[in-house]
Symmetry: C2
Subunit: 117 residues, 2 copies
DNA sequence: CGAATACTCAACCATGTGGTTTAGTATAGA
DNA sequence: TCTATACTAAACCACATGGTTGAGTATTCG
């Protein structure tokens, strides 16, 4: 759980930029080269390339060099880690789950009582 | 959906720091003052205070000034937004949820149909 | 009142960030 | 082979970040 920490730093930092989030969105459709990733943005090629590097370092993108083009594909495992971290706070934003939790808690109490008896 | 973008920048940036993530963890237990939030960390009081400010600006923490102490409580709505963003990639890391997603999508379609009618 | 407490603000520092441009490397294709 | 393509690397810029210290502002309490 603590092992996530380093990952999470990099992943959340990578996600904190709208360009990079958009890039991930495009990669969700299909694999793309650096050039294809770069074109939608008003930015130099090198600039976009640096964003891809950040995503790669965060483990969100894997690169396959094929000839002179670099094919990038989405790697979702680290997104799953980030999601897992966020889910720990789910009960704070989801009242329905709060009620469920209360229910389960009571069930647990009932069980505990039975065990004691 | 695009409206999230500004929020997401701030939220993900706030979450990219382990000190701030730990602070949120503590706030999940109970409301805390700035001083209580600061003590666990090897850091000046003012330094910790700046972290709280970042969380506050990201909308993750609400502050209630009570006399000379500032009580902070977790505000999870923005975490929910971040979670919603991440969930769009769920199918990439969880094959089982893929089926669920398809199901929900059909339900949504059914609902949309009803609304239209 | 006076002193301790809880906190902010401002200035400062080193480093990191997002962006650029220019130059360089390696591959593909005429 | 010669040139266009796809990309990286490096140097540079302005600005943000995470951290510090020191001073300032309320508020509480003896």
């Amino acid at each position: 759980m603590v092992e996530y920490s380093r990952h999470l730093d990099a992943v959340f930092h990578a996600l904190a930029d709208p360009t990079r989030r958009a890039m991930l969105g495009h990669l969700a459709e299909r694999e793309l080269t650096i050039g294809e990733l770069a074109t939608p943005f008003h930015m130099s090629f090198a600039g976009a390339s640096k964003h891809v590097r950040v995503l790669e370092n965060a483990g969100l993108v894997k690169r396959t060099i094929r000839g002179r083009t670099h094919l990038c594909r989405l790697e979702a495992a680290r997104l799953a880690e980030a999601n897992a971290w966020l889910r720990r706070y789910e009960r704070f934003w989801n009242a329905k789950l709060d009620a469920l939790e209360a229910l389960l808690l009571e069930e647990d109490k009932a069980k505990a009582k039975k065990v004691k008896e």
